[in-house]
């Protein structure tokens, strides 16, 4: 605000007609004056104003880059549509990748590209060992990539992949959530609280017993 005042775009105090200027707003909540009963409590607060397309693109670029890095290190979530079992632990799993992410991530899923599939919770937590999710995941190859025609439901990317692996594991069942890493994504370690290993409900959801009796 101080910059806009120094540029004389806005007055130091008092009202100014804004002439229906188009903008995008970031909305947060902060305490507002009032008795809490008359509605003043829900007077929302503008945290950000994007005055032009370039500025919101700039902000969106940053968030997209953050999410791209996040997904590449935590892997693409998907659910299993179908599993065709072969012999000696071989199987081909058909997956639908979850949607809403940057196209560059989906572009990395190509036919004949190697990859890894890993069981996940509905929280999208990996199963992992001391060597990270890559250690528990099943290796294989993408043998088919298909893009759904027509209207794609929200939540889905509309992209299905057929993944052939020689180590089909329990978590890869129709309707179950998995995470997938094409070989071009880095094989990184994730922090302890982001994977399941030797778990017990008490460790994950501690009771007040963790507070020592004095």
């Amino acid at each position: 605000v101080s910059d806009l005042i120094s540029q004389k775009v806005w007055p130091e105090s008092g009202k100014k007609e804004m002439k229906d200027q188009s903008a995008l707003l970031g909305i947060t909540w902060k305490p507002a004056p009032g008795d809490g009963l008359s509605g003043a409590f829900t007077s929302f607060h503008i945290s950000d104003i994007w005055l032009d397309d370039q500025s919101i693109e700039h902000a969106a670029y940053f968030q997209t880059q953050k999410n791209n890095h996040f997904i590449r290190t935590r892997w693409m979530p998907a659910y299993v549509n179908e599993v065709k079992y072969g012999k000696f632990g071989q199987a081909t799993a058909t997956l639908t990748l979850f949607g809403g992410m940057d196209q560059s991530l989906y572009n990395d899923f190509k036919k004949d590209v190697g990859g890894q599939i890993n069981g996940a919770e509905n929280t999208l937590k990996h199963t992992a060992s001391h060597y990270g999710p890559g250690h528990m995941a099943s290796n294989g190859k993408i043998i088919q990539v298909t893009k759904q025609e027509g209207k794609v439901p929200l939540g889905s990317s509309g992209i299905q992949i057929d993944f052939k692996t020689d180590q089909i594991i329990e978590a890869i069942r129709p309707g179950r959530v998995v995470r997938f890493r094409p070989d071009s994504w880095p094989k990184s370690q994730i922090p302890r609280e982001e994977y399941l290993f030797n778990n017990s409900p008490e460790n994950r959801f501690p009771t007040p017993a963790i507070f020592r009796k004095n």
């Binding site: 910059d3 909540w29 902060k30 305490p31 507002a32 004056p33 009032g34 008795d35 809490g36 009963l37 003043a40 409590f41 700039h58 670029y61 940053f62 880059q65 953050k66 791209n68 890095h69 290190t73 935590r74 001391h130 880095p186 094989k187 990184s188 370690q189 994730i190 922090p191 302890r192 609280e193 409900p201 959801f205 009771t207 007040p208 963790i210 507070f211 020592r212 004095n214």
Partner: protein
Amino acid sequence: MKQFPIRRITILFLGLFWIACIVPAKQEPFRPKVGEFPTLEKAHSYKGELTFVDHANRRGSLRIDGDGRFRFAAPSPFALLPYSLVRYHGAPADLRDIPLGTVMYAKAYLPPDPKISSVPVLPLDNREKKYGYAGTGVAPAENHIFLFEDEPSYCKRLGLVWKLKEINLKEDQGIITARRESKSGNGDVHEETFSIDTATRFWRGKEHLYLRDLLEEKVLPENGVQSLNDQSVLLGIFWKPTSGGVFKRFHISDVWLDELAMERASRIQNETHKTFVKSRWMPGWVDKVEYGKFGRAQVTVTLFGGMDDSLYADFKKGQKAMLASSENTLKHWAGGTAGTAQMASKGILLEVSKTQEKVPLGSSGIQLSLETNLVTEGFRPGKVIRIRPESWPLLQVPREEYIHHNRDGIDIRFPTPDIFQIIPKN
């Protein structure tokens, strides 16, 4: 006759004296006392990645960088002392202002009163305990933090600066080698390599740039190694997974390329915090209470420190003010439907004084005396209060930030797994 080995004894004595001089004394765990601001020298120091925040209860978890493998270190719970100083971007902050992943420096003590600690109380020697591959030092008993700072705040306090040595870029990510040293050129020099990527933000004056902008300007090469000629900057440090089996390589989230850029970041954070304190009231503690008749009393309080001067300047002699008792989490009491103001005591500021002596960290050095005709149980020497000068707006705070006289219980504030509904079998 056998001679007394005076030379050997002298050498042994000098040797022991030399060892005593070079080996730092082991810091004993320190428990702050009620009503006293502790000295920073007695604090246990550590740094780590902020992994969880419960801002309403002023506590969270930190993955502490111990002597083992960082990635195996489980987040360690911490609580903020009521007078703790949280600094972000070189300005005062609340926990809610700090993004998860930020690397923070902590100066901490044992819980002042273990019975009411809001995080688990650990054995006194827990900083020596080895936690498997995570090593030692990852879960110290000193989990009540006094000073909590991000990298630029830490550097500004100690007069440090980062000098960028070299960048090695490959496509959309890279490694920067930098060293941290005193601005004066004296003291220790610390060299480290960090990752950067397309989400790293570069701040230059009023500009907000990304890696791609610096590539377009040819300030940085698209690929390969380039010397950065010891450019002085301040860095925001984060943790992100890195490839190649390197877990503990920290990440640069922000680079402030000049003083104007850093000053602007500090200013925004300072303004955020000022609005926050005005709406939640200034914290302090009670020094003494002089009781009058019929519920009247004169309450003397010391305001906690580390905030913007303009907030303290709002406390003026002769002005009306409201005083409310508070928990050590700085939670207000509230009653009825009118919020925190309903339970607060009104009064007049009879005295506002600033000490001329050295002010300990945690204190503002400002003492106020408020005369009220409604002294309540919360106003006792050593107890934490919050105070609002009349010039500050009278606002409602959200439900999770106050304790209600009849709507709260221990199970509501710290729920057990019983909150998970048991699904009946059909």
